[in-house]
């Protein structure tokens, strides 16, 4: 909610193109996780980052704890990348605070 701001709220991509999603944090964040929720509602963990960058196939994520933001890049978008992407911040209390999500639609 209020502590995690995701943008954009929705994104349409042609197959083969690339784009980036962003999360801004309003308070100090120890780590960030990115999830994708598919049309059936299942939440899949994509990345866990305490700092730096990670890459997995066509997805790459970065986390800057000092500047309070994280990004998720989608390269060469495919139809199966469609879904709602959530970032979640781990603060210094237990549990994660989720953003409101970015709905990504990839079309031919």
């Amino acid at each position: 909610g209020d502590q995690v701001e995701q943008s954009p709220s929705a994104l349409s991509l042609h197959e083969g193109t690339s784009s980036a999603l962003r999360c801004n944090f309003t308070t100090t964040t120890r780590s960030v996780q990115w999830f994708r929720q598919n049309s059936r509602g299942s939440l899949i963990n994509l990345f866990y980052l305490a700092s730096g960058t990670k890459e997995n196939g066509r997805l790459k994520s970065a986390f800057d704890s000092k500047e309070l933001y994280s990004t998720l890049h989608i390269r060469d978008a495919q139809l199966e990348d469609s879904g709602t992407y959530f970032c979640a911040a781990e603060h210094y209390a237990q549990g994660l605070t989720f953003g409101l999500g970015t709905r990504v639609s990839v079309f031919p």
Binding site: Q33, F35, S42, N45, A88, G95, L96, T97, F98
Partner: protein
Amino acid sequence: EAAVTQSPRNKVAVTGGKVTLSCNQTNNHNNMYWYRQDTGHGLRLIHYSYGAGSTEKGDIPDGYKASRPSQENFSLILELATPSQTSVYFCASGEGLGGAETLYFGSGTRLTVL
């Protein structure tokens, strides 16, 4: 990969009735969580647990109780269900290694309170 199983997948309850949502994980994770997901609010933490016998309040615990009778099982209990508790509920588990943990989610339970 962590396996988190929720039951039931769908539930319809009446106002004032008691509802129990169940969650089972098979990877011996210490921490378990209950979230609800609503349009405009994202996922919000209701209760969580550090291990068997432990339950802690999350961000929105009012109207909910939790029970962790064993490492594997974590239940969410609505003693007196209200229509405002209509939502999709997700259970998650994590290793709990000093806070640095990846969460694994169940498939969700869609609850409708009439």
